[in-house]
Structures are given as C-alpha cells and as structure tokens.
Amino acid sequence: MYTLPSKLKLFSIIIMVLGLAGITYGFLTAPKTIEDVKEIMAEQDAHHGGEHAVEAHGEEEHTANFVDVARGEEGYSEAAMEHATDLKPEGHGSASHEEHVLHQLQTRPWSATFVAAFFFLMIALGVLVFYAIQYASQAGWSPVLYRIMEGITTYLLPGSIIVFLIVVFAGTHFFPWQNEELVAGDKILQGKSGYLNFPFFVIRAVIYLLGWNLYRHFSRKNSLAQADANNYDPYRKNFKLSVFFLIFFIVTEATMSWDWFMSMTPHWYSTLFPWYVFASMFVSAITVIALVTIYLKSRGLIPFVSDKHLHDLAKYMFAFSIFWTYLWFSQFMLIWYANIPEEVTYFIIRIQEYKLLFFGMLILNFVFPILVLMNSDYKRVPWFVVIAAVFILVGHYVDIFLLVMPSTVGHNWYFGIPEIAALLFFMGLFIFVVGTGLGKVSLRPKNDPFIKESENYHF
C-alpha cells in the first residue's frame, strides 16, 4: 500500500498555489485595450532598437526565405501568409494590426493554460488506452502494472473537466470559426459549419468526457471486484468493456484532435493529424507509467515488478518515439513537397517563428530517445530510462505547445510566467491526484487471471 509522502504532498500543493497565482497573473496582466498594445509595442521597439536591429532583421530575412527558396519564387511565403485568415481570427483586412496583436496577447494566458492542461490530460488518457489494450489483448506480461496505470488514470476526471471548461469557454480565442462575422464572409467556413458549430462542438466534448470517464470508472470497479471474486466474471466484463472503449476512443480521439487543435486554424487540414496527436499522447503516457514504476520500485513497494517489465516499458518508449517521428515526418514531407498555399502556412509559421522549438523537438523526441534507449541492456537501467523519460516528456510538452501556440498567439509567444505557472499548477495537481489515487488499494492486483504469468515473466 502506497501513501503519498507528506513532503511530496506539500510540494504538490505549493506548486499548485504558485501555479494558480501565476495563471491569475497572466489573465490579469493581459492587455485590455488597443492603447495597452500600442504601449507594449512601443516598448518592444525601443528594446529591440539599436545594436540588435540589424542582426534581428538579417535573421528574419533568412527564415522568411525558407519557403521562397523552396518554391523558387520571391515573396511566395508572404503572399501565402497574407491569405491565411486562419491566423487572424478577427477577420482578414477588417482589423488593424494593433487589434490583431491585442487579440493574440489576450489569447496567450488561455493558450498557456490549455497547453499544460491538455498535456497532463493526454498522459492520463494515454495510460487509460494502454490499460484498455492490455485487457483487450489479454496481455500476460503487464497485469502487475494494472494498479499503477489505474492510479495514473485517476487524473482523467479532474483533468478532463478542466480541459472541457477551457475549450468551451475559450471561444474565439482559440476557434476562429466561432466568430460569426468571420464565417459570414468566408465560404469555406460556411461549408464546414455543419460540423464546426458551437452546439455540436459542446455536444461532442460532452460525449468524449462521458465516454472516457465512464470506461475509467467501470474498468476500475471491475478490476477491484476481481480481487475479491471467486470466478473471472469481472475480468471478462473488463475485456468486453475494453474492446468497446478502444473503438470508441479511436473515433473520439480523431474528432477530439480536429475539434480542439485542427479547428484553431479551420482552413488548414491534414488527414493524419489525429494519429499524430495520438502518437504524442501514447508515448508520453507510457513514459509516465515507466517513471511511476521506477519511483514505486525505488521505494520498495512493488517487489513483484522486475527489470523485465521495465525493459518492456522502455521498448515501448523507444518504439513509439520512432512512431511519432514517422508520423511527424510523413505530415511534414507531404506538405513540404506539395507546397500548396493553404497547407504550407502551418509549417511556415512554425519554422519562421518557432524555429528552435520546432527543430529542438525533433532532437528531444527522436534523436535522444533513439540513442539512449537503443542498447538492450540500458533499457533495464532505471536511471537511463529516467533520462530518456525526461527528454521525451519535455519534447512532447513542446509538441503540444507547438500545436496550440502558433495557431492561437502567432509570433507573440514567449515562454514566461503564464506558461511556467500553468505547467506548475497542472504538475502539482497531477502529482497530488495520482499520488492519492495510487494509495487507495494494494498495488498488487490479486486474483487477476494472468497475474502469475506476469510475475514470472521473463525473456
């Protein structure tokens, strides 16, 4: 039986309070009028003036040329961006530059909160999917990890409610298609309004919320009932439940990623986008299972989990890091090669304004895991796995950051108080909820039909 140590509990509460203060600060200090924006811009000009001016300008020119060079056409990227009304949620041409900046600066605290909130939600959700896969495939190696996975998915309920509230109340901060004026003057958005309209959007979000949480509730209930049962009925029920959940999940995951991420730029589309989000979700989730397992193992609470289980988790981390890169590259190369104006805007803004994060993410999510975890023996060394885990988690936070920020705040991004505070708050909440969730029952799933095989698992 695990109890959240009081020091860790205190730590999580402190960072939650700090985070909450920071998030509030972010919302309160967001500029309210155009005058505020003008002041900020004047300040920035003064700051960037002088010696930096030439250097900054040179760099800008260089990055702007990326697409022009690829296209062999001067001014191509500029023209494409000009028509990308997606990135100007208040409408094209109707608003001044200041109004545009004001909108983005007001969006920033929303985006910062959403990035962190979704990052931790997707960890809990990914673990739930991994858990369902273990049941549906009747895996023999993993039952020793069931209670750990269930502990992590405790976060699903609070996490999903917070994300639900954010996406429902964010309005035009995130979703330009909710701006009626914009839609009125946009044929493409009118064509999409059968799907992208507010009531249906909320209904879909409610369905996701209910479906995911109901599966989590009943699978946990059956899993606990199995410990006291004389037969395998609860296990059989869980098997069926998991199969249906996986079908439900893969559909809702696709629509969720369209709703919450792709519709931030409603003109842009990519058919493998849901898979891409899923890959990010899944690899982060498995990484967190590995981290929690290593933590509990180091406290001597799970003697029945051996380094063989850790080896398998590390294999999954390795494999899904490559899977993520494969999807990332597939999406990138097709868009890069075709170079169609309405598609390529997605990468133009990410490469021009977020160059370091965009390419740094590839190193964190692909190069480091592949080098650290390639050797078979290293996958059983806890601190090696922890190093890889830190790279992967940071990398996938950046990934979510890059899904949201360029589409919502554009070039007015900065990694400052709102972002750090949101990260702290949700990390604190995650530690607190998961720690409490892990502590409720014995960590050894008694009576599971495969528990003996799992404990004796070796290869």
């Binding site: 690829a70 062999g72 590259f329 990138f332 190369m333 890069w336 090669y337 170079n339 078979s376 290869f459």
Partner: protein, 178 residues
C-alpha cells in the same frame, strides 16, 4: 584421437531446458544442442556468450546511411541536378526531406541483408552445405543434447542423463575431432 560423445534425445523443449540446466549444474560439458526451432533462453542456459549481432547491425545501418547520403548527394546534387516539383536542387540540406525515405530504406536494407549474411558466416552456413545434424528427427520434433563423455564414467553419465528425462541415449565414438 577418438572422441566420445553421448547423444541424449528429448521430446519436449521444457524438458530439454531443465536437462540442460541440470547437466551444467553437474559439471558435464555440453558441446552442442540441436533443436527443430529456437528455444527461448536456451543460449543463456547452455552458457553461450551473448550475441554481438546487434552491434554489427548498428554498424551496418550506419554504413547504409552513409552510402545513401553519398549516393544521393552525387546523383541529385553534384552530377545531374534535376528540377522535380520546383524543389531546389543545389544543396543537400535544402532537398533533404525528399531524401529521408531513401536514407531510411538503405539503412534498413544494409542492416538487414548484411546482418543475415553475417549470421550465415558465423554459423558456417552456405548453399549446398551438407547438414550437420546427427539425427534427422531434430528437424522435426525431437531435441538432441550432445555431451562430452571423454573424461567421465559413461555408465554414470548415462544414468544421470536418463534421470533428466532423456528418451534415448546413444554413445558416439568418432575417429577424430571435427
């Protein structure tokens, strides 16, 4: 020099695994084991050194990657730059996204093929080679463990192997070592 060997035949892979462990624990030397399929964990039980084929595979992969880079650079950039879909063809890094699939495929191709060839060479296998199994049934459903009987009491060893569950035991005397 004559060498004495005992061939013990088993009918089950679990039985074989157990017998291998017991035989090694009793300080007999197992010179070879013949099985119809790879038995999981047998190499470890017999006490073979861990395979180094993973390291060669990594090196072959790097070779393949380098070949791909050099080849593409020569073909597409230096020798005959082509305008495909309006993509730049004057530097390697600008064109790299289009080259990555080729680089990946050649990495896998080199790693896989050279690894198989290495495996054949290490196992001394080549086309038309005469099979070395002492008993044809090891290609079907029997498992054969070959134990050195040179410096041991054959009676005692036979009794021991019989107790480990061998279904058939035969003494083989060769004129010379091969």
């Amino acid at each position: 020099m004559a060498s004495k060997k005992i061939h013990a035949i088993y009918t089950d892979d679990d039985l074989l695994m157990q017998a291998v462990k017991q035989t090694r624990a009793a300080n007999y030397h197992i010179s070879e084991v013949f099985t119809p399929f790879p038995v999981h964990g047998l190499d470890h039980a017999v006490g073979l050194a861990p395979t180094r084929i993973a390291i060669t595979s990594f090196l072959y992969g790097l070779t393949g990657l380098s070949v791909a880079v050099l080849m593409l650079n020569y073909i597409m950039i230096e020798d005959w730059p082509q305008n495909i879909g309006g993509k730049p063809s004057f530097t390697f890094y600008q064109n790299m996204p289009a080259f990555i699939p080729v680089m990946f495929e050649l990495t896998v191709f080199f790693a896989a093929h050279l690894m198989v060839i290495t495996f054949y060479m290490r196992s001394k296998l080549w086309p038309f080679k005469k099979a070395e199994n002492p008993d044809l049934r090891t290609t079907d459903d029997h498992f054969l463990m070959e134990v050195d009987a040179e410096n041991h009491d054959v009676e005692k060893l036979t009794k021991f192997l019989y107790d480990t569950g061998a279904s058939e035991i035969s003494l083989i005397e060769n004129e010379q070592d091969h």
